[in-house]
């Protein structure tokens, strides 16, 4: 992944607000990266743009040699469906679907065979084999995040983006979720995590510090 001179600004009543300014870095396949910074530093916006969920004002993102913003919304959706998994701080599960149906959804969107069996396998793998037919509202925070992780990883994407994946979890559940994430990375999945927790960032090989929309420093290799 190559993030090339990325800037994002928005207009509001007080004028132009620069959220990201000339962010430029790259990440080799199978690497893990943590983007850290204080609240409002622009790290979540950066992650959203990298996933194609938001658009930059300037610059672009290259994923597997493809310019994400040279394509239309449908094509970006197709890239997300096949190559990108996204985990949100607030889980963002669909409340009218069971855990199993939530995990099946990306498989169906990607047009992959046997979605039910594959989704079931993935939920068993994250320890939720007994919770397949439960709706999100009856699951604990940790269980919901594990469903979200299963949903993000079930299509075996090349890239997993996680926005504060442990932000809403207690310390015990944080350890559980990080264990799953580390396992995924060890199995060859490129992982980018936005966090403000030092312990979570230390689990990755590379750390980018962001402050006021600018890269302050980059630690690690790759």
């Amino acid at each position: 992944m190559v993030v090339s001179h990325l800037s994002k600004s928005v207009q509001d009543a007080s004028g132009t607000l620069h959220i990201l300014r000339d962010i430029d870095f790259h990440l080799a396949p199978q690497q893990s990266l943590a983007i850290v910074g204080a609240s409002g530093s622009g790290k979540s916006t950066l992650l959203s743009i990298m996933a194609g969920l938001d658009t930059p004002t300037q610059g672009t993102v290259w994923l597997g040699g493809v310019d994400m913003f040279a394509m239309d919304e449908d094509a970006r959706a197709a890239v997300r469906a096949r190559q990108v998994g996204f985990v949100f701080q607030s889980f963002q599960l669909l409340g009218n679907m069971t855990a199993l149906e939530n995990v099946m959804l990306p498989l169906e969107l990607a047009g992959l065979p046997n979605p039910r069996a594959a989704a079931k396998d993935m939920l068993v793998r994250v320890g939720l084999g007994e919770r397949l037919s439960h709706y999100p509202k009856v699951l604990s925070g940790g269980e919901q995040q594990r469903v979200a992780l299963a949903r993000a990883f079930v299509v075996k994407p090349a890239l997993l983006l996680a926005d504060e994946p442990t932000g809403a979890l207690d310390s015990h559940t944080t350890v559980e979720v990080m264990k799953v994430l580390k396992e995924l990375n060890d199995n060859g999945l490129t992982t980018i995590i936005v966090t403000h927790e030092k312990s979570v960032a230390e689990e990755t090989r590379k750390i980018i510090h962001i402050k006021d929309g600018l890269i302050e420093s980059i630690e690690g290799k790759g």
């Binding site: 996933a51 969920l53 938001d54 197709a78």
Partner: protein, 415 residues
């Protein structure tokens, strides 16, 4: 899950919202059908009543003058003769079949049964003017041969035969009118609201027996081409003028002639029903608009509520077109299913009312009803339901298109 399963699961999950949306559709269609049905029922009832009697009949009776005229004093009793029939025939091009009528209250007897009935001395054209109805095996009306030979034949209204003959057939039997025997040659089945019923004998026979001075009680005719109130008023005035001249009385004398113009009543009534139909149609259109607004509103809220869900779906790779398609299918599903339910209930109610009306009509064949067959044409119903479905689709499409255009990250922030 396929698209349909997913939509159904979503609808089930939001059962209350689904039912409320659906009810506004069902209610709109139901009320529309019931309103149109009520309008049709009234119209059919009145039209049917009119069809039972001749709508283009004009009949007039002579009265007593109340004004002196050209040296003639007031208070003269006027009487019609062939001269007035000829005057009408010659002066009024709109009339046809003019005929004199003799009427007399008479006792008619068959075996031990008898009753007092209105005896009418009529010409053959009377049948057409007053729309008499002869069912199969019920004989016929007076013809020219009866007239020429002044035959002693009689036609009875059905309600008279029911009294005198009970269940026995009246045709070919003899009844006694006063002291004279008449052979029954026909039974008239026209529904009559008033009186005990009429008995008809040839005009010439009536003149011979009851009216040797060749005067008669009324003149009746059929009028043609009088489609408006103004045309009928003009005809009435012309008719009054013609009779006034023929009988030498002041045309302004309102007591000298009594006139009944059924055609004018028909035009008036149809005008009122034209107004009622427009009124019902306007209410129907507004009901439909209310239904459309209801569906649009709920679809708007429904899509707004789902903005976050749309964002999540886009984030995990759903193309905007597929989301749009799924919302539109959902709109069609809700409006079509609930529209159908409303349609079934609406048609069911109108058919049920129709069934009971027909049942009661069958039990009382002589009865008149102002409400008949309150059903609505299926094409009206299908068009209205289609309009509502289409508006549901448009109502779903507009906000859905806006929602799928929002960046996923912004959509997911919506609560």
């Amino acid at each position: 899950m396929n698209v349909l399963q997913e939509i159904l699961a979503g609808l089930k999950h939001n059962l209350l919202r689904t039912i409320l949306t659906g009810l506004s559709v069902s209610w709109g269609i139901f009320i529309l059908i019931v309103l149109l049905g009520a309008g049709n029922g009234l119209k059919n009832g009145v039209t049917s009543n009119f069809s039972e009697r001749a709508t283009n009949t004009v009949q007039m009776w002579p009265g007593q003058t109340s004004m002196p005229y050209k040296g003639l004093k007031s208070g003269r009793n006027l009487q019609f003769s062939e001269k007035q029939v000829a005057a009408v025939h010659d002066n009024l091009t709109e009339s046809s079949g003019e005929t004199g009528i003799i009427e007399k209250q008479s006792t008619i007897t068959y075996k031990n049964e008898y009753g007092s009935y209105n005896l009418v001395g009529a010409n053959p054209q009377y049948e057409k003017i007053f729309n008499l109805k002869f069912l199969e095996n019920d004989g016929r009306f007076i013809n020219k041969l009866d007239l020429d030979a002044s035959k002693k034949v009689i036609i009875l209204d059905k309600k008279i035969t029911e009294v005198l003959f009970k269940k026995e057939s009246a045709l070919g039997k003899y009844v006694q009118v006063g002291d004279i025997m008449f052979k029954v040659i026909g039974v008239n089945s026209t529904k009559e609201r008033w009186g005990n019923g009429n008995a008809y004998i040839p005009f010439t026979t009536a003149q011979l027996i009851y009216n040797p001075d060749r005067k008669f009680h009324s003149i009746a005719m059929t009028v043609n081409g009088l489609e408006t109130n103004e045309a009928n008023e003009a005809f009435n005035e012309k008719l009054k003028g013609s009779i006034a001249q023929s009988l030498s009385y002041d045309p302004k004398d309102t007591q000298a002639l009594h006139l009944w113009n059924a055609q004018r009543d028909y035009v008036e009534t149809m005008k009122i029903f034209g107004g009622i139909t427009i009124f019902v149609s306007i209410i129907g259109i507004f009901t439909l608009i209310a239904g459309i607004v209801g569906v649009s509103n709920i679809m708007l809220v429904s899509v707004k509520e789902r903005t976050r869900e749309i964002g999540i779906r886009k984030a995990i790779g759903a193309p905007p077109a597929s989301i749009l398609r799924s919302i539109i299918i959902e709109s069609i599903l809700i409006t079509a299913v609930f529209g159908y339910i409303g349609m079934v209930f609406g048609i069911g109610l109108t058919e049920m009312v129709n069934f009971f009306l027909e049942q009661s009509a069958a039990g009382n064949p002589e009865g008149m009803s102002v409400f008949k067959n309150p059903t609505v044409s299926l094409s009206y119903v299908l068009v209205s339901t289609s309009i509502l479905i289409l508006s549901g689709v448009v109502a779903g499409y507009m906000p859905a298109r806006r929602a799928v255009r929002i960046k996923p990250i912004e959509a997911m922030r919506e609560e």
